[in-house]
């Protein structure tokens, strides 16, 4: 890898000036490297981080037909990585005008990395530097412990999608509160709402009573406030204690939990494993925001490369070339989802709508379609609005909040269905729905979403009990056994996983995919409704068994 030449670097610096003038904010320093095919071959298994730790699986082709991106939040072909300074990679034969376009795109990404709050935890350090020291540490451990290092890497990676990204992020945004205790929080947030099932009226009265106590008794307010409650609900204090304990075990993710609680890992001889696990966990956390902002990040970068390129005075004469390349990147496909195109259009849509003042209370109150269409408060706040969105949202709330019927209709979007036509022996794509609700749902379904596992400790046999909060999608069954063996190794004891699976159907002839004569007229059997059942996997002594629980 070598740096780009001075001529190209100068172009980049020119791009930076123009991007800054347009309002993008990013650090001064960036590094641009020319990569050859050979470099890419080495970089891609390391998700473009040149200094990532070595692991033998990186040398083997990994079967990826199943959910490549559920497995790895990182993209193996990212052009720019979120480091300090940000590093970006280029082909060595790009013409200047193309480099200008890519530079703007890259600057869009860098601005996003350095301003979007989901990346907050990556702002304070340089990941490549961290990775380099981690890599050295792992290499040193490998010299000492041999293959066991790779086992620990393997088993930790087996659960590195369960890293509790949002919990990790939340301390950065803790509102500064003082004045009341956890007991008050519990009373108002949990007990009154769930336990005692109070009416709203009563709830408000309790708040008033608390405020009065504060006024009257000052420091003694809480004590006074709770005396009455203890009399009224004698069970309150026990429930509160219990909730504190529960919170302790469910408050952390699986990897962190194992590191803290596993007796096996905390033996003197095994303590080195903790540092390996920490590396895996940090690496995963580093990549988490990337996959959760794919649509926004690419949309934002595309918005800016389009906007800034067209304003750039240096590249006149290449508009046609640009148009061709840009269309390849940002055209909406007839069928399929392109995050560049979708995100960019949504940003344009939001800018336009905000310019006309449509994200205001006044506008929301208008029911009349015609008036809504013609509403224009000419606030000219569009840019400001999209800047605040790039700062505060992730893909889920971006899509969930802003995909509305106006947007779907304007861009002629639809949900495409795919069905089999047995007569023509062909898969047919058809327009399934043009409703914004359906479109939104379809996009949300396709977003990255790791399973939610609740951790419980069961005293019998020192069991680690993982309770999968079922969300309508089963886990990949063939991965369960080996993953549990890995967790069992790290835990040093019995591990159980409770999850939902499709209950076995009574055997019936499979619908043949060719739509052969089995489907004669009048013989259509209705597809039986899917029925779910809870199952319990138990891993003990490296043996995994499964049984039904109901």
């Amino acid at each position: 890898m070598e740096l780009i030449d001075q001529h190209t670097k100068k172009i980049m610096e020119g791009c930076k000036e123009r991007a800054r003038a347009a309002g993008l904010r990013f650090q001064d320093e960036t590094l641009e490297y020319i990569v050859t095919n050979r470099d890419l071959i080495e970089l891609s298994p390391k998700v473009m981080i040149p200094t990532l730790y070595d692991y033998w699986v990186q040398d083997v082709e990994v079967l990826k037909e199943k959910g490549r991106y559920e497995l790895y939040p990182g993209n193996p072909y990212e052009t720019v990585i979120n480091t300090r300074p940000a590093i970006s990679f280029y082909n060595d034969n790009n013409p200047d005008w193309l480099n200008v376009m890519i530079f703007y795109h890259v600057l869009g990404h860098i601005d996003f990395f350095q301003n979007n709050l989901y990346f907050r935890h990556t702002w304070e350090y340089d990941f490549t530097g961290q990775a380099l020291s981690d890599k050295r540490m792992i290499a040193a451990l490998r010299a000492e412990k041999g293959r066991w290092v790779d086992y620990v890497i393997e088993f930790s990676r087996g659960i590195d999608n369960l890293v509790g990204f949002h919990r990790e992020l939340s301390p950065f945004f803790q509102p500064e509160v003082d004045g009341w205790s956890k007991m008050i929080d519990y009373y108002f947030d949990v007990f009154l709402q769930e336990g005692a099932k109070q009416s709203v009226n009563r709830y408000v009265k309790e708040i008033e009573r608390f405020n009065e106590c504060t006024k009257k008794y000052g420091d003694m307010a809480e004590q006074t406030f709770f005396t009455e409650i203890h009399q009224k609900y004698p069970e309150f204090i026990t429930l509160f204690q219990k909730s504190l304990e529960e919170k302790k075990s469910s408050g952390v993710d699986l990897l962190r939990f194992l590191m803290e609680e596993s007796a096996f890992l905390n033996k003197e001889d095994n303590k080195w494993m903790l540092s390996v696990m920490e590396v895996i966990r940090n690496t995963s956390l580093y990549f988490q925001p990337q996959i959760r902002t794919k649509i926004m990040n690419e949309g934002w970068a595309s918005y800016w490369h389009e906007t800034l390129f067209l304003q750039d005075d240096r590249i006149q004469g290449h508009e046609a070339n640009f148009a061709k390349t840009n269309a390849g990147v940002t055209a909406m496909p007839r069928v399929g989802l392109n995050p560049y195109a979708l995100g960019m259009r949504l940003f344009y849509h939001l800018e336009d709508a905000a310019n006309r003042g449509q994200y205001s209370f006044d506008f929301q109150r208008i029911k009349d379609t015609r008036q809504r269409k013609e509403y224009n408060a000419a606030t000219d706040k569009g840019r400001e609005f999209i800047f605040s969105i790039r700062e505060n949202l992730s893909d889920f709330n971006f899509v969930n909040t802003f995909i509305d019927q106006d947007f779907v209709s304007k861009n002629k979007l639809f949900v495409a269905g795919k069905r089999l036509n047995p007569q023509r022996m062909a898969w047919q794509y058809y327009v399934k729905s043009r409703k914004a609700r359906d479109y939104k749902q379809m996009v949300i379904e396709s977003l990255y979403h790791p399973p939610d596992l609740r951790i419980e400790l069961r005293p019998e046999n020192n069991t680690l009990y993982l309770n999968h909060l079922f969300e309508g999608k089963p886990l990949i069954r063939e991965y369960i056994a080996n993953t549990l063996i890995g967790v069992g190794f790290l835990w040093g004891g019995r591990v159980q996983l409770e999850t939902s699976e499709v209950a076995a159907q009574p055997p019936r002839p499979r619908q043949d995919p060719m739509g052969g004569p089995s489907r004669r007229a009048g013989e259509d059997q209705p597809e039986p409704k899917i029925s779910w059942q809870r199952v319990l996997y138990t891993m003990e002594n490296k043996q995994v068994t499964k049984k039904r629980i109901d």
């Binding site: 193996p76 390349t325 007839r334 886990l475």
Partner: protein
């Protein structure tokens, strides 16, 4: 051809068919396609490309037109042996194996015994199954452009999609990420790593056109090594005939007269080598019902068996490839065998008959250990196996092993295919367990299962 099939169908129908059987036969009849070897035909369904998900898009491809590169495996540090050794170590450490020597079949047209070994692995995690969808729902994706709700905007032939996705044999997972290895090496890996059994030495050894060179011949006057004992004997003979040996009881070798011609040497000579050799018949059902997975399973298994035999017989293996639907034909190379598309009906006996004919006309039974492996989905229009069983019995008289693999296509009920039924009813399986083996697997069988199946068929 079609007419002939229809006539056959009528004939069978008159003899009585169950509903299930009729359904399958009709299905194959109506499955209109030909056996043409799979080319790279890739039409577009009216501008509908296969839908990509959000996360499959990346900057490099879109902005810089750099496609996802794969390293040629040879440039990687680790060799296959190293990987397998690591995998073996895993077992000793008490963890399940992780390396799969997967998807290794890509025979070229000219180099028959080249297979491609792609060591693969999976990283298992607890994660949602992205391929899951409730049965009542169609697959849905994003889309844009004109068209009313319900309007069809494009279509894509079923066959093509399956082919393109790599479920059809011979395509898909190619790429550069692979080790070209000879089938012999693969056989070695299978034998050693997966503990496939070693063949028991067969009694009869047959000569080959292979030679070794050895100092076995004698030659007077010159040669490589002096044969002292023979030379002494020769000298004695000469001296007796010269009358130089007066008293047989006290011979003094110092008095011997020695002619140059009396020296006897050992001389390097060509020797015929005697070793077992094998003739393997691979039979594949390429009828319409074999579409997709069953074919893939059968062909993969046949490559594995072929590799294993190649190793066992020290490369002294000859192969014959036979494809059959209602009629059987022999094809020249593995490439054609592997890549021919499925179509047509099924009559198993046609293939068996062809094997018998080949063996008797070429007189193969005398010179070869004969192995016959047949892969099918278990459908047979000859539902009772009347003709097939006769031919099979004939085969068993000369074959070392007949292995039948049934890869269920999933259209009928499991464990209830025609071939399986009539094989079991005939009692041949229990009568001659060392000659005839049967392996039945589901259409979703894994590679591990395939190897297990091979063990069952050949051990």
């Amino acid at each position: 051809m079609d007419k002939k099939l229809r006539a056959l169908y009528q004939h069978l129908k008159e003899r009585g068919l169950s509903e299930e059987q009729e359904r399958i036969i009709l299905f194959e009849l109506e499955h209109k396609s030909s056996h043409a070897a799979d080319g790279k035909s890739r039409g577009t369904g009216e501008g509908v490309s296969s839908a990509q998900t959000i996360y499959e898009h990346n900057d490099f491809e879109l902005l810089q037109a750099v496609t996802a590169l794969k390293a040629p495996y040879v440039s990687r540090i680790r060799s296959l042996d190293e990987l397998l050794e690591r995998d073996h170590q895993r077992e000793d450490d008490g963890f399940p194996r992780k390396i799969r020597v997967g998807r290794m079949i890509k025979p070229g047209k000219d180099s028959q015994d080249k297979v491609v070994v792609v060591p693969t692995t999976t990283e298992e995690k607890l994660m949602h199954d992205p391929s899951f969808k409730p049965p009542e729902e169609d697959e849905s994706a994003g889309g844009s452009g004109d068209g009313d709700e319900g309007e069809v905007i494009g279509e894509q032939p079923v066959q093509e999609q399956e082919g393109g996705e790599g479920s059809g044999p011979g395509q898909g997972e190619g790429g550069a990420h692979e080790v070209e290895s000879s089938a012999y090496d693969l056989g070695k890996i299978l034998t050693e790593q997966f503990e496939l059994p070693n063949l028991q030495e067969k009694g009869k050894k047959r000569s080959l056109t292979r030679y070794t060179y050895d100092l076995t011949d004698q030659n007077r006057g010159f040669g490589q090594v002096l044969d002292k004992k023979a030379t002494l004997r020769r000298i004695l003979k000469t001296n007796i005939s010269l009358g130089n040996v007066a008293d047989a009881d006290s011979v003094d070798p110092a008095n011997f007269l020695i002619a140059p011609n009396d020296r006897i040497y050992r001389i390097l000579s060509k020797e015929k080598d005697f070793e077992s050799q094998a003739m393997v018949f691979f039979l594949r059902d390429y009828s319409g019902s074999m579409d997709g997975k069953p074919t893939e399973l059968v062909v993969s298994q046949h490559v594995l068996i072929y590799s294993w035999l190649l190793y066992q017989y020290e490369k002294q293996v000859e192969t014959r490839f036979i494809l059959h639907d209602t009629e059987a034909k022999e094809v020249d190379d593995f490439y054609t065998y592997y890549n021919s598309k499925v179509a047509g009906g099924t009559q198993v006996f046609s293939a068996y008959k062809l094997v018998n004919e080949i063996v008797s006309t070429e007189n193969l039974a005398r010179d070869y250990n004969i192995y016959i492996f047949h892969g099918t989905d278990g459908d047979d229009w000859d539902t009772e196996g009347e003709q097939a069983l006769v031919e099979l019995k004939q085969m068993l008289t000369y074959a070392n092993r007949v292995g039948v693999t049934i890869a269920e296509n999933g259209y009928g009920r499991s464990g209830n295919t025609e071939v399986e039924k009539y094989l079991k009813e005939s009692g041949l399986l229990t009568e001659k367990p060392d000659l005839l083996r049967l392996d039945v697997m589901q259409r979703d069988a894994s590679e591990q299962r395939l190897i297990e199946g091979i063990k069952r068929i050949i051990s």
